[in-house]
Subunit: 152 residues, 2 copies
């Protein structure tokens, strides 16, 4: 059974109706890029069928997020993006000076997630986490500027 059908079946098992729109949206998200915006998904679904509306895309994505099958997050430009667990846990590092994104080994998250479960019993979903800060490049090049920034 393919990736997207897992979600579709799971939703059906929970009493949700499976419409052609929902199928196409889930498929597009599950088989598309690492992360996609609602508009991107909408445009791709439109190429297959006119029988879809942007509001429906948002609603379906919301449902997937509510159910834990997808994650909604803001990218470095503050834009809303969605991702499924297909690409696993993400740990992005965004430099607020140069704007570059660095991807780091998401396995670093595993101890944290495990510790939280031990301490609280909370079972975390896969996650897409973005940490903001300053990359090594900018730290090296802007040592004087940063010093001035912190002066009070």
């Amino acid at each position: 059974m393919t990736h997207c059908h897992t979600y579709i079946q799971a939703l059906r098992n929970q009493g949700y109706r499976i419409t052609p729109q929902r199928e196409m949206i889930i498929e597009t998200l599950a088989h598309g890029d690492v992360h996609m915006s609602a508009e991107e998904i909408y445009q791709q679904v439109l190429q297959r069928s006119k029988a879809v509306n942007l509001a429906t895309v948002y609603r379906t994505l919301d449902l997937l997020v509510d159910k834990g099958y997808a994650t909604r997050f803001m990218d470095s430009d503050g834009k809303l993006m969605y991702a499924t667990e297909k690409h696993g846990t993400h740990l992005h590092l965004t430099c607020r000076i140069c704007g570059n994104n660095y991807q780091t080994d998401a396995n670093l998250l595993n101890p944290l997630i495990r510790q939280i479960e031990e301490m609280t019993g909370f079972k975390a979903d896969f996650e897409h986490i973005a940490l903001s800060g300053i990359c090594k490049n900018c730290l090296d090049q802007n040592i004087n500027t940063l010093k001035k920034e912190k002066e009070v």
Copy 2:
């Protein structure tokens, strides 16, 4: 020197102009609740002076985020919130079944942040991290439902 004046001085040092609007917005965010929405900040500033506009609030908050003095994040309802480092690193756990928020010891993040710095040289800002998942309560009560969810 008080908390909000640190940011004001730092911005001034960087050549930004300090307007009465910016002062009030920064003060409200720095001395207000743990996290606030732009609208909440706007309403509070309005009580002190009519000389402010919601667009200005958003712009000032954006500037603070760009400079690393504040964090923008989505709360459990997908609503945009802002926070300063006053309340330190936050680690929220949001249950997607009951909707409850649990706050957990943010010190758990320290090893992760340290590890990232060692591996990549990336110096992370204070953060506000929200992990989605299922809390212990719901896990206990909904064991059958969850089983059904995962059936494929």
